[in-house]
Symmetry: D3
Subunit: 137 residues, 6 copies
């Protein structure tokens, strides 16, 4: 078993708030992240897959193919977008780093499996000092 | 003459567009950055000041004081904000990295001078791969 | 289960030595780190907690609260301090990166648990090229 | 149990290809990495070992000794070398990052054990955006 | 006047040697970099251009266009190549970082000027610890 | 004219204070940096030299030689030392980053010149967020 990781990135706007909270409650719970006019981040995304090395190629998975998958299924849908209003797989979900990482996992788990590897983790940096990691259920 | 630099950061949403352009023209000129629903960045800001070392303290400027100034005059106004709609010193300016850097220079030049140093440069990273630098007129 | 990490940092002086060793023995075992006049580091600290995402907030834990805890219980006691002589939770312990990481774990495990999450790991960089990681006993 | 990591680096040339493939097949499978005239990388290597802290020294392992081992057994054999043609432990192996990491593990597992610790992982960055990690069989 | 920088990267093999030197002389002057079997690097390239901000767009230069130029004229010719034998603009030049940076300047100076800006500097990292910078003659 | 930079690093303890100040005055002026029990940093040092490329070697200066000089004249005197009490060239100087950078310049200017290049700048990071740069008088 070996693990291989590909780093990709995207820039996006988001806002943390609940429509059923008052403005005061949103500010209390989500702080500056609840700003109604949005703010944004340069998200750094690390996708790790695991499996056996193919003796014919020396590869676990072709990284070009892994990168293509991540871009098609995740990055192109998030990059330069508003996560709260424009991203299908984030519909009706709070746009926290936790939830974005889980949603990215759901996007990639099946296709990575079809490509002959297993998704191991999704690691998402919201800032240089905050990141989440999800390993599936 | 010695140069000292302080790094600060802020997260913000922005959009590049001209109201007098059609949507097509905005997309052609500004690409994905013209997305009407905003996107955002983790901006990294490097402020460099220059001057003589004070023989009494060994300091060009007290970095605590420089950091306080940058936070009060720049970071607090930009962090977790929408640069196009919420930042007084960006009013009526296109929110390009170039214009943000110039506006930050204008905010800091006077106060740095009052504090006994001279502003040398404002360097602003919009992403890890794109940055602008302004040295004044 | 999801994992979230907060990065904090502190600068401190330390020295590796045993009072029951001769100077020669200290130099042989601890090398330049045994210098009697101290030396120091910019320590980078990554604290990872784990748990379930709260469906109401989308958070595993409020990062502001996690950061406050780390600063109050760990960073404020270490930053700009001499680890050998000024830090209560390092009393009678060799100031190796290993022991500092274990002591930081002990400081945080209870309070993180009270805050509704579980401490997963303490990762401490002594230099860019050396780091330790502790996951509890 | 604690984990300690040492970062080392080396620069090397390599090429991904199979002599039993045609040039077209090599290009199709390995892309630009199959260039017959070689290309190269700055490889970043992170070696993690695990074990108990020695109460006498506060160390899991003396990092000077760990660094010496990695340099003698791995880095000196790879640095400024052609991985396909000059590295004994890569003979008859495809020079993929996966295979290099596994081979480095095989070089280090025994000696780390003799030194009183256990090898936990070998993490190898081929570029800033691609890395593999191996934890043994 | 404002300065804007775009970071690009490429991986390549090279060798430092003079055919009119003996092997011993090459080793003495160029050290491990003279290895006849090549070695390689992940080169990081920072291209800085300068000029006035266009009041219509807020841009000094469209970064997409600058990136396209650098990729077409420089990166595509160097990436996954052997600098000594496959790169037209390095023909008959020693493949030192100094000479590569100068050659990149020569490739870009004219086209950047046609695009309405002025080339300010070419900064080339051969490793994380060594880089050269060229500002033209 | 071309510029080449070598990065080196050292860990050291220091303290900012004036013996002719009271403890209160030292705390007021130098903050936590005046702690009588010392603190320390991982200093990152970037030394830039400039000159013409030697057509015979393609080098401005042999980086091995530049690195050897910096280590012998600067790093070995500072690494794992107490800057206030153990470093000859910092005797009777406040151990601020500004003064350390100027003192490093004085150490290197002559020897770099003897080696056939000219010292251009000394850039010293005290933390990731604070650095000074000195270009000589």
């Amino acid at each position: 078993m070996i693990y291989i990781t590909r780093k990709e990135h995207f820039n996006a706007a988001h806002r943390l708030f609940r429509p059923d909270y008052s403005d005061e409650k949103n500010l209390e719970v989500f702080g500056k992240c609840s700003n109604p006019n949005w703010h944004g981040h340069n998200y750094e995304l690390f996708v790790t897959v695991k499996g056996e090395v193919d003796p014919e190629t020396g590869f676990l998975i072709n990284l070009k193919e892994l990168s293509r998958m991540i871009n098609e299924l995740v990055v192109n849908k998030l990059d330069h977008k508003n996560i709260n209003v424009e991203v299908d797989f984030m519909k009706d979900r709070l746009a926290s780093a936790e939830n974005i990482a889980i949603a990215i996992w759901e996007q990639l788990e099946g296709p990575v499996s079809v490509a002959g590897a297993a998704l191991h983790s999704v690691k998402l940096f919201e800032t240089e000092r905050n990141f989440v990691e999800y390993f599936g259920t």
